[in-house]
Subunit: 516 residues, 2 copies
Amino acid sequence: MKNYFATILLGLTICSAGAQAQQRQSPNIILFLVDDMGWMDNSVPFSGAKLTLNQRYRTPNMERLAAQGVLFSNAYATPVCTPSRVSLMTGMNAAHHGVTNWTSPVKNKNTDAPDSLFSPAPWNVNGLSPRQGDSATVYAATYPQLLKAAGYYTIHVGKGHWGPMGMPGANPLNLGFEVNISGHAAGHPQSYLSEEHYGNLPGKNSVQSVPDLEEYYDSGDFLTEALTKEAIKAMATPIARRQPFYLNLAHYAVHDPITADPRFYQQYKDAGLNAAEAKYASMIEGMDKSLGDIMDYLERQHVAGNTIIIFMSDNGGLSLNPPRGGAAHSQNLPLKAGKGSVYEGGIREPMLVKWPAVTKPGAVCSQPLIIEDFFPTILEMAGVKKYNTPQEVDGKSFVPLLRNPAQDQPERALVWHYPDKWIPKGGPGINYHSAIRKGRWKLVYNMRTGAKELYDLATDIGEVNNLAAKQPAKVDELAKLLSDQLRRWKAPMPVITATGEPVRMPDELVQVYKMK
Amino acid sequence: MKNYFATILLGLTICSAGAQAQQRQSPNIILFLVDDMGWMDNSVPFSGAKLTLNQRYRTPNMERLAAQGVLFSNAYATPVCTPSRVSLMTGMNAAHHGVTNWTSPVKNKNTDAPDSLFSPAPWNVNGLSPRQGDSATVYAATYPQLLKAAGYYTIHVGKGHWGPMGMPGANPLNLGFEVNISGHAAGHPQSYLSEEHYGNLPGKNSVQSVPDLEEYYDSGDFLTEALTKEAIKAMATPIARRQPFYLNLAHYAVHDPITADPRFYQQYKDAGLNAAEAKYASMIEGMDKSLGDIMDYLERQHVAGNTIIIFMSDNGGLSLNPPRGGAAHSQNLPLKAGKGSVYEGGIREPMLVKWPAVTKPGAVCSQPLIIEDFFPTILEMAGVKKYNTPQEVDGKSFVPLLRNPAQDQPERALVWHYPDKWIPKGGPGINYHSAIRKGRWKLVYNMRTGAKELYDLATDIGEVNNLAAKQPAKVDELAKLLSDQLRRWKAPMPVITATGEPVRMPDELVQVYKMK
């Protein structure tokens, strides 16, 4: 842990040299986390070129951030939200923490869709817990707890979704945040509209009603805007005290219910988008406006030079129609499929990092990284070097990549594991899939059929050419790597209802399940 | 403002001498504010002896606090909640800040009951605002803002009720608090029960649903207990950082809906109380348990010696039946009437203050003081000496009384002004009354009838002997004092509907209104 201190006096500063040292050593850190935003849902050329979808969306502030920092073109999360958010908080892979599916706001409730063949995997349906002994939870320390203990002022604004009602994970204050605005058990807002009181109209509430925003009722402020104002209000306190802060600005946008942000909707409609896609694009631009407002605020407060901004999404863009418009699973092209899938459309994320005086403006990094890497990275950014956690941290700091984005790192295997049934209908790479990527090669394992697919991402980002039959040795190598890792982590596996046995690992002899 | 700083490092302390100085100079301050609790609703002999009601209620932790600090036997608030809470925050008398009645959770809504003779006074129905220009608000700086600027960690837990939804006063974060748990526009909880999710069951919400407590749903924790746990959680952060804190622990208890606290209900039922009164007593004891838990926590954390605890209520005990049991207006005996009234039962409060190394254990102070006095007092306790506020502060610091409770102070006039109609039915001293106390004398002015009553509180705490006819000179003197003060403050007055004229001041020729 760094030795440092902050003056909290406004006015005369005592020990100001020390305070400056502290300021120099402990940057503010903002994680700007968007919900359900796909890799292509913006005007930044994450693929290296402005493709069709990049021309549809307008995100000038993401462009501005990209111009000031590093663009990560191979950044990953998991296929759905809670697993990513728990990986973020704990530094553990989803197969390791076992919160493999989204958590219900209701305790002990398994959100897996019913299946004719499989019974649900024994995953941690009650999410993340900061204390030992809670049933069906992963017990772990979070990096906000460690940041807080190191003197950071820790703020959460927006979506929490770390655990259900009745469990400690429902409350961000239990996870290392000292300020919480609007974070709770729910994974999406009942409403984005102030006229609907964000879901709190009398007699019309649900578990998704957004708390803490009464001030904005009937103000006309879209939820994204209200949360931005609250985030700015919360940052003012540590800035005034010259205390380093961590802000987890976790927007509810752009999760369903897809709703027109009236500030931006019409221009997309006029551009010829159908209503659903124009609404979606308006939510994207409202989110981008929030990013710009935050950046402007930091500049006005003269702290932009000491504030790291990390931009990330928690899973791929939704590709179901409805609620999206257009052909199903086309919304993240050139990536295949979307949210819920282990194909690139479901897991590859738009990620940007600006670290003043560290990152080079306009840099690009194509090294793969994954959401659990944020845990050690953010702690390293904060100068928190030694810490103990009850969990073994799987993530690896990407600070070296921030310093040198072109650095050639040894090839590392990244793992995705989704032993759950997200939607009854299924879809490409959706429900009961695992995957592993090492270097250019990606193996996709279908737990239902036992099928293994192999893709060369260096030449086939769209995962259209399955090379499994041509390269059986590579398949076996990756299947072994993936299986060993899943076994080591004691990853939950679906249970074959007829036999009571767990589904086999991809390197084991695979039975062919009868499809009903 | 004090010059001081706090180290925020856990571990090696830099500038530790300075930090200790800061700790010595800046005590933690807890305001333990109960809602609707009457002067007699406890086992502490505020009257000087254990009377009947003191024998009914069990509040061992209030007794414990009284034994450690100063008991104030003549402490006052206003007849209803929002006026007291705004006086507390602003240091202004209710007649001055103009928020003379309780604010609706709904913006621009006048909560005065309809009247056949009067139209509502032009009071500030939108409550307190930290910014200029909001309609029907009082614009003022709050002492938590000043404490925060001076380096205090400011926490609000529980009932807010400073302004309606859609206005900044709905959000404690706008009033100087950096942490807010469960404070919002509402003045009471929809439910005290975790089984009812404190009013958040799907489809059953109201503007009184208590936010931020999902963690406790179905836990069995009564609302008072859940808030206590949250307060303790929030204090842990500044204690770990050795940062001075201000905690506004504003319980929803013991406001209606009167609900059995299952931990304590049965014993009161067994003691022969009717169901309503047994429930009420159980809420009182649950509140007292909270006080004890807070005191225990401070001791365990070794900060009790540097933490001031102020115990207070916001208005007199409710004396309506229903919801209370027993004869109406008997619940605060020997005091007359209850909540809503300018008689002693509506405004005299159980107040205790422990300031380690300042107050003498078991001391009693009979000097009158009033809720707006808390503003300068708390700032003086914190060592915040120079500050500017947009409002003129009416309150007077009672720090000298804490140092010397027996100090004979020059007689000072205290004013109550309630130009509103609280309940359709009315009651003793309820609706359209003002009052003034100077020394032993109290004048009560009925705006509806023009009648003036005079009581000698030194011999008649129950206000049963109206001495107005016997002492006309004293009546005139106090009427003049009261009127001058109300005129100076531009106090809102009810409007005589028939003429459009405001009701006259008590020293003006008083017309006799026809009663319809």
